[in-house]
């Protein structure tokens, strides 16, 4: 075991870690837009929209992420669209995360006591105002801890985008392993960086939970 190998390639690993975080942030942003839309669709009165939303969630939670990523890559290729690997990666992560995020939002919206919106209706609030001033503020606060958790899961899942060629942390570790013939040091180095990133975000999550007062009792 030669730890100095990790030190020598540290710059390269840090740079790749940056790509990992960036891709994950982009993925969760796309996922939020998709998840919020699907959640709205499921909670709307429209039966067809609700069904479509349910099918989306079922498919993108049921199919493994690797299969989803390769599907996007080859699917669009079949129809002649040359998709840059980055678009396929962020799109795949976003589609997958969107399914989970729509469930998080649905759970948070259901957790807001129904009595509040009933009282608001009785007082004459319009639907839009009930959403804007009562449901959404509380639901978004409740959903922060699960969202941070989802981001951490997405960070780990992003290691799979190495198979479509993105130069993120796992791919960087693989490159170091093959160029230095010291796979143990390479993967321990990459693993330590993943651990460090995850611990940071888990700490941020605990901080956010405390500040928002929505933490689960230990």
């Amino acid at each position: 075991m030669r730890p100095e190998i990790i030190l020598h390639s540290f710059g390269y690993l840090i740079q790749a870690a940056g790509v990992t975080v960036a891709v994950s942030l982009a993925g969760i942003a796309v996922g939020f837009i998709l998840g919020a839309s699907v959640c709205m669709a499921r909670l709307s009165g429209n039966a067809m929209l609700a069904r479509a939303g349910a099918v989306y969630v079922s498919i993108f939670r049921g199919v493994p992420l690797l299969v989803q990523l390769l599907f996007i890559y080859y699917f669009l290729g079949k129809f002649g669209l040359e998709v840059p690997a980055l678009v396929a990666a962020v799109g795949g992560l976003g589609l997958s995360s969107g399914a989970y995020q729509s469930e998080i939002l649905r759970g948070a919206l259901n957790a807001v006591p129904r009595g509040q919106s009933e009282a608001a209706t009785a007082l004459g609030y319009r639907r839009a105002d009930i959403w804007r001033r009562i449901l959404l503020p509380q639901a978004l606060r409740l959903s922060v801890p699960p969202f941070i958790n989802e981001f951490i899961l997405l960070l780990k899942a992003s290691s799979l985008v190495s198979v479509v060629g993105i130069a993120e942390l796992t791919r960087a570790s693989m490159n170091i392993a093959s160029s230095t013939y010291h796979p143990l040091e390479a993967y321990v180095g990459g693993g330590l960086l993943y651990l460090a990133i995850n611990l940071c975000f888990a700490g941020l999550g605990t901080l956010a939970e405390r500040r928002l007062g929505v933490g689960r009792p230990a």
């Binding site: 075991m1 498919i59 049921g62 080859y74 780990k156 198979v163 995850n198």
Partner: protein, 223 residues
């Protein structure tokens, strides 16, 4: 777009399916056993041991599964551990799931009402009897949904094994795709297959939950 190629390659796809189920099954058994042992050891409340267990769980839950596999398969030989791809895959799945199962069992143990354990001790039941006849049945209620959920997650993680060349279903599909230029059909078939697998296991899991909680009244059941 022709799906006949799937029929031609049926033998290798079936073998891939068998390897997938084998890895999933053995990995799950290893993970459940190891996770349960970790949860039991945690209950001993020996501080240094608990610290070691905590570090183990945090490392496994904090790093991607793919990295853990690479570490086992490619990094193993550096410390004298030469595993075949399939063995590395099963061990990887087992270690990965053991961390999550340990947390599930920990929560399960905490969910057992202390009063029942105290009553059992006061009538003179042995610790083993208390574990087997009181704690485990009560724990089942709390842990079965989480265990089923983790088993589903594990089944989806088996596709990652194809990256370290374990000859499971995804790997066989990709081989077929490379030999016959039918990447799209292969991936599409994979997607359908896994979606069906997850749906079936989810439904079976829900029926299992119903059976395990059948002694409870409807309001008391988790959901």
């Amino acid at each position: 777009m022709s799906f006949d190629v799937l029929w031609t390659y049926l033998p290798s796809l079936l073998s891939g399916f068998a390897v997938t189920i084998l890895c999933w099954g053995l990995g799950a058994v290893l993970g459940l056993a190891l996770g349960f042992v970790i949860a039991l050891l945690d209950r001993l409340r020996i501080a240094p041991l608990r610290w070691v267990l905590r570090v183990y769980v945090e490392i496994i839950r904090g790093t991607p599964f793919l990295m853990q596999l690479f570490l086992l398969y490619a990094g193993g030989p550096s410390i004298g551990l030469r595993l075949s791809a399939t063995t590395a895959g099963i061990v990887g799945l087992g270690l990965y799931s053991s961390a999550y199962f340990a947390e599930i069992f920990r929560g399960g143990f905490n969910a057992v009402p202390a009063g029942q354990v105290e009553a059992a001790m006061s009538v003179g039941m042995s610790p083993f009897d208390i574990l087997w006849r009181i704690k485990l049945p009560l724990m089942l209620v709390a842990t079965v949904p989480a265990i089923v959920n983790m088993l589903i997650i594990l089944s989806k993680e088996t596709v990652v094994l194809s990256i370290i060349t374990v000859p499971e279903l995804m790997y066989e599909m990709q081989t077929m795709a490379a030999e016959t230029f039918t990447a799209f059909e292969a991936i599409f078939a994979m997607a359908i297959f896994y979606w069906l697998l997850v749906e079936v296991v989810s439904r079976l899991g829900r029926r299992l939950e119903m059976r395990v909680t059948s002694f409870m009244t409807r309001d008391a059941r988790p959901a």
